[in-house]
Symmetry: C2
Subunit: 318 residues, 2 copies
């Protein structure tokens, strides 16, 4: 339904209303949020792109008038350790949430927590799920641990920051933007480091402020700095590789400190349900950077491209 | 007590008999085995070397006439996840097992399993402990999983091979020597790959013979090949870095397959006790490459340097 543009050619602007097949229901959508994955798809930089498609993994709306939100993927399978081969995020190849309606497996529809606005509920999806699995299922984060969120500002990193704070952890952040560090401190982060200073890691290292849990989506040359500041027994969770391969990772630190480098991607419907319970218990609200009308596609994708946001980019679909 | 040589200058040849302080007992040693660590010390390539010292982490002998073997370290502490700062392997800086007698904390003395010869008991120490923690505590290996031992022939790798086979796993190995691959197959390994062929990983990869658990002590450029052949949900345990830093490790494979890269070093006294129980249950015998008299230091260290062994290098101390 969204306006087609030259710049982000995968967005479709007209589409028949879907009908539900077996085990499916049709949800009327009111809000959808973007994820970095959506940008990669518009740039042709995602595996197995099939176009045209309705993009969007995150969405909230109503089912029979009741507020709901949508699990942002399908086909996880029955292993907690890893998704099945059928697993795929919503919104390519399957039609996603940037639409008026979506037909979706009824098991992927969850009651929206009462305390959230509909726009906030629309932001929980992939970012919340990814952050929850990374911290709780993979890093097995414990109350009171010291946590470093590398590159705060994006949806997953911010949600990880919020979840860790709610879990009574001492949270530190990095960013390339001082204003994002300040914003994270206002949320409750104790300290921040600007990684444009290549020696940023010396400050925590020299004061022996090492981290029990580190959350990263960059990889690349900087990954080894995270290894340097990991505490003995520490876990570094990686859910993305925006800077490519990890380079020159110090093997000796890894084995001597008994570190764990844990790959993580999204999560299961069970984890999504647990996320919603945890959020409700702690009244966690996703941070919205900017709300766009569905007719303002380009501006939202531009913001996603430039990574200037602090929080989610959300479409109103009504 | 060992002969001093020019080539391996850290070996001392005369030493007063130790006496036990509080909580210590004096064990009469009959066999001691070498580990790679011992070679690094002779080459000055180990942190905080203090000389002269009696080397040797692995040892077996008698206490009050009863066969015993010795936990090869001290100061693990009370966390299962990681050793304390006081942790140190036996045999530098503390005097080790290549001696007639050793004074040692009574909690570090274990009954030798009846079915082992005294020479075999002398080989269990660091290799068995490291392999046990890597597979069971870190990788949480399950019966029937497919396992790759990278670089079979050394003490830890061979013990990992034996423990995994006893755990009903399908074991594959790599080596730079075809004869070591053949020897591992005779032990029960299903398949082997010679890593001198840089594309060795294509064979398992193209037949989708991926590995649930991989055990590595090399790191370096080849580490990423292990990532390539790791099964979804797979765990790669690293307990050494003989080839230095891990280079160009594919971040995307790590997060998409939900891999875990797990640093591991040695283990706790509790793990040592559990190793002995597991070995006894499955009647696992450490593999002795060659037995040396204590007066033949150089030849044993030469073999250690050249990595030509398949099994442990053991000294008779009597």
């Amino acid at each position: 339904m969204l306006k087609e543009t030259n710049q982000y050619p995968t967005v479709v602007h007209d589409h028949p209303q879907p009908s539900a097949s077996n085990d499916e229901v049709v949800v009327k959508l009111s809000y959808a949020a973007l994820n970095r994955r959506d940008y990669w798809i518009t740039q042709g930089q995602y595996p197995n792109i099939k176009l045209p498609v309705i993009m969007g993994s995150d969405g909230a709306g109503t089912l029979d008038g009741k507020p709901v939100l949508i699990y942002p993927a399908s086909g996880w399978g029955d292993r907690n350790a890893v998704q099945s081969e059928e697993f795929e995020p919503l919104g390519m190849p399957k039609d996603g949430t940037i639409a008026e309606y979506i037909a979706i497996d009824k098991n992927y529809v969850f009651d929206a927590p009462d305390y959230l606005t509909s726009a906030e509920a629309g932001c929980v999806g992939m970012a919340g799920l990814t952050a929850y699995r990374a911290l709780f299922s993979r890093a097995k984060i414990k109350r009171g641990e010291r946590v470093l969120i590398n590159g705060v500002g994006g949806g997953v990193a911010l949600m990880a920051c919020q979840l860790a704070l709610a879990n009574s952890c001492e949270v530190h952040v990095t960013s390339g933007h001082d204003e994002k560090i300040e914003a994270a401190k206002k949320m409750g982060a104790q300290e921040g480091y600007n990684y444009r200073d290549e020696k940023w890691y010396k400050k925590p290292l020299e004061s022996n402020t090492l981290f029990d849990v580190i959350v990263d989506s960059a990889g690349g040359k900087m990954f080894n700095n995270l290894v340097k500041v990991a505490a003995p027994g520490g876990r570094i969770v990686t859910y993305g590789g925006t800077h490519g391969s990890m380079e020159k990772v110090n093997t000796q630190i890894i084995f001597w400190r008994q570190l764990s480098i844990l790959g993580s991607t999204m999560g299961s419907p069970t984890e999504f349900g647990n996320l919603l319970k945890f959020m409700t218990k702690h009244q966690i609200r996703p941070i919205i950077h900017k709300l766009y009308h569905w007719d303002s596609t380009d501006a939202a994708f531009d913001a996603l491209r430039d990574s200037t946001q602090f929080g989610k980019l959300v479409f109103s679909l009504e």
